[in-house]
């Protein structure tokens, strides 16, 4: 859910930039620590950023007949955590604006806050909680991706409502924007959840080492998922 270049009034562009920047700084700082510890992190982060971009540029059909795009941030949040996702997501948003004209430079702060920061942060919390509860990886990643998508859409509706209240009422505007976007976003979130769940399981079957090195799965569960497929 990108807010287009020029859509938001200037004061809101600035507010969302100010809110987003601390998260990106923390993300960069964490990333720098990781890179100092292991130089391999930089190229791996880079290919993951490129992966998120390509994923978000793929068409997936949505019920309304138009095409939509997966956000990819839910997958990134479950694999790499929220702060790294904040940095990667922001870079991806810059490239989406420059290469595809999705979003824009003045609305970058607002889009980064909803798509790269708040959505992934909540989704990551959900992921950690579900994993602690002992649920399977596929289910957790699927729910996380759907949550990331829905939270992002809620935040975007809220951002639009703050900028364009209806007769002075933010609540009314939020309900209006939320209802309109729900038509496309809720089916999209479900589809993205299903896809990400299948993706996580497929990766465990084909190349579990990657997920093991990220510390999100243990040998016992790998054996279980691989056993299901056989």
């Amino acid at each position: 859910m990108h807010i287009m270049e020029g859509y938001l009034p200037m004061e809101w562009c600035i507010v969302w930039f100010v809110l987003s920047i601390p998260f990106i700084i923390v993300g960069l700082w964490q990333m720098k620590k990781l890179i100092d510890k292991d130089q391999k992190v930089l190229p791996l982060m880079a290919v993951c950023g490129a992966f998120v971009f390509v994923l978000s540029a793929l068409k997936i059909p949505s019920v309304t007949g138009s095409c939509s795009h997966p956000t990819g941030t839910g997958l990134s949040a479950s694999f790499f955590g929220p702060f790294v996702t904040a940095v990667l997501g922001t870079i991806v948003l810059i490239f989406q604006a420059l290469l595809l004209a999705h979003g824009g430079l003045t609305t970058l702060g607002a889009n980064a806050f909803s798509m790269a920061i708040f959505g992934p942060l909540v989704a990551w919390g959900v992921f950690v909680a579900l994993r602690k509860a002992g649920l399977g990886l596929g289910l957790c990643v699927g729910v996380t991706a759907a949550v990331a998508n829905l939270v992002t859409y809620t935040v975007t509706s809220f951002q639009l409502a703050l900028a364009f209240p209806i007769d002075g009422s933010i609540v009314a505007a939020f309900t209006a924007f939320g209802t309109i976007f729900a038509v496309t976003q809720i089916p999209l979130a479900i589809i993205e959840g299903i896809i990400c769940a299948l993706v996580a399981k497929f990766i465990v079957r084909v190349k579990p080492e990657i997920l093991k090195s990220l510390g999100i799965i243990e040998d016992a569960e790998i054996a279980k998922i691989q056993g299901e497929a056989a």
Partner: protein
Amino acid sequence: MGGGFHLHLHKKKSEKQSIFSEDVLDDLAISSPLRKVPAAQKLVLCIAATVIAVLSPVIYLPLFVLISMIFASLVLAKVPVRIYLSLLTIPLAFGLTGAVVLLFVTGGGETIYDFFTFAGFHIQITDKSLNLAMLVLARTFAGMCSLYFLTVTTPVTSLFKVLRDVHLPQEFIDLTMLIYRYIFVFIGEAIDIHNAQVMRGGYSTFKDWISAFSMLTSMLFIRTWEKGEDIFLSMNSRCYDGVMLLPEEDTQTSVKYAVIIFAYLSLLVVILALEMIL
């Protein structure tokens, strides 16, 4: 035919098989006649013009920015009209949707046309909502056309130098450069995988579609990860020490462009001031 294997040979001829809906804008920028204008100046022009257009309380200034940016892209940067129009269709759809929402749900002022009230929403067009929708549409288009002017004249690689000149953290710049490089590698891979899947009857039903798409995504992720490990090796064997070098850009150092851009932006500021006073 058993086994869920379907061949789809009867699709409409006009239907594109690619899974990428958009043209990547960088191709135009590389062959642009304005490529040698310093990237920083074009970036300032784009952002400043957008900001001034968004600040405008009435529709005239955004329209002026819109027209001048279209002129600059088509005449000065010589972008073919057909490509430019096709680029505009995506933001046109998004922008119109956004404006229509504002048109129907916001209110105030005199009612022009009253549709109905549904679940607490009063769907109506008032003179204030019409004004707001037109203004936001004009601002959005002014912003989009400014952004397009930047993207069709400036390859992303020249923008990296600007990032370094404003002293963003080196990790951020290196990461951005690597991501940019690998976007194109992975787009190529995704298209190859997609073609292979379509050849084998993937994407024929909705269920097939879901499973084929998740397989594509998974394979892409695994391949990207392997590629990342390869890059680490190749960077290490070339003595990577935390700073990637940028090739020197071949730009014209003439002050001509700076003066033109300054004059244009000053004109915009004057119009904005006039709009706010009048």
